[in-house]
């Protein structure tokens, strides 16, 4: 299959504003984020100002306007996971990897808290680059980190 380009994605949609979010989601899922260059292409295609494209894009958690880190660790910190020790995981990771949850400026690795994924009975839930881990305790946490980071 040919590589997907932004142009190809755009042609799958009519240039009506209600298709803007689906288009942005699509670009995000193929390229990992919506770059300024791609946003300009979207703006041209929809005949909308660039600022408006970013207005919508920047609102939604799932749409990134910046290249994301190579490894993204996400910990659900919503109530059910929190009572099962989610914040212990966050603290462990922060200390072990010397990073802060929410810090966006590390190209190698990023840690963020996320909201409930609806798997509350199996918490705490953690995702690494989208891969889901359930009932993570501290010893398992180190195994998972090792798996992704090497020793």
């Amino acid at each position: 299959m040919l590589a997907k380009t932004v142009e190809k994605i755009l042609l799958e949609f009519n240039p009506q504003k209600r298709n803007l979010l689906p288009v942005l989601k699509n670009i995000n899922s193929v390229f990992g984020y919506v770059s300024a260059k791609d946003a300009q292409k979207v703006a041209d295609y929809f005949s909308l100002p660039l600022a408006l494209i970013f207005q919508t894009a920047s609102f939604y958690d799932e749409i990134k306007t910046k290249k994301s880190s190579a490894i993204v660790i996400q910990v659900c910190s919503s109530s059910n996971c929190a009572v099962n020790g989610a914040f212990n995981l966050v603290r462990e990771i922060e200390i072990f990897l010397k990073i802060k949850a929410g810090d966006d400026n590390n190209l190698k690795i990023k840690l963020e808290e996320i909201s409930c994924l609806g798997h509350c009975g199996e918490g705490p839930i953690m995702l690494v680059n989208g891969k889901k881990y359930e009932r993570v305790n501290v010893s398992e946490l180190y195994k998972i980190l090792e798996e992704w980071l090497g020793n």
Binding site: L21, N80, G121
Partner: protein, 413 residues
Amino acid sequence: MKNELKIITKDWDKLNPLRIEDYIAIGGYQSLEKFISKLKPSEIIAEIKESQLAGRGGAGFLMGEKLAQVAEEKGTKYFICNLDESEPGTYKDRAIVDHNPHLLLEGIILCSLAIGAEKAFIYLNGRYEEQREILAQAIQQARKKYFLGKNIFQSDYKLSIELFSGAGAYICGEETALINSLEGNRGEPKLKPPYPVKAGLFGCPTVINNAETIANIPWIIKNSGEKYKEIGSISSPGSKLFILGGVVKNKGLIEAQTGITLRELIYDFGGGLLSGKEFWFAQLGGSSGRLLLEDELDIKLDFNKKNQYPLGSGSVLVVDKTVDIYDLMLSWASFFRRESCGKCVPCREGTFRLWGIIKRLRDREISQRDKEAMEDILWTLNNTTFCPLGKFSATAIQDAITKLGKDIFKKNN
């Protein structure tokens, strides 16, 4: 264990969600057939009004009233199924799709045709990718059987259903924010009035209902509104889906009649607490819900407007004394800080400051000044924000301070 009620969860063990035949075999789409062959739209609406079905998305507005208002309007209209479901601890709407997507579709078709809409939308939580796939297949199958499309059951009724996925924003479950999002804008709430029933999607009259509310409709059309009204609580009758979480024995989804008490839900349906756990409090309605102590568990779970403890999404978190309350408070604060849409200053700033203070509280670094600021912030969130999210963000923390009060600040003394 008590008998569970089976209106929405009926025959879930017999159904393959990807096979329309399974649903048809248990009497599925018969309500739609009954409507097409025998009933007028106004009769459907009368039936739903009679049932007293109240919205299950949180606000508890009577569904029949909304449908009736939009049915009277002329021109293009829309019906929207709200499946954004992002309240922490809540996955009842997803469960409906996972087990019986056609029940939801039949409900959507009935409501849409009743109000005279030819187009309906399902607004899905952005993370519900599997559910989107299930619904896409179900829509295809329904179209092949002429339950959807141009000539439903060979009649002149027509309807198409479009799936639309959100992109990670709790506020988009709020109906006006949802409309903004569907239109391609930032998902910020709008000023009401005008209400969506007057000026909704693309400015047209629009009915928005929660998926669970809609899933009751086929039963009501089949068995009558009068029968539905006999179930459960007088003020808001019918079935309700609950999600139990925390230290209960039976975690997960429960269907029961409205009006059962919280104690019955936890101890009879949920099997009580895990052995060795001592009850501290329960949170009713997800992270935006209130906290109840042991002596408050006899409240009735329904949508009576006078309820001191709103049922909200119907999820219940049971918390025992070993839980680190600071982690839980941080969880609430952190959730609302992330999910504040930023449109109004009291909420944007308030949720951020509150989060900072709770973090210091957790790290035992809270000062007298923080404690005073916290009171101010909670008041502001409670009284001045543009939409209910601001109030939600203050609810549980306020309760933690006033009800668990002494315990909360103790470690700092």
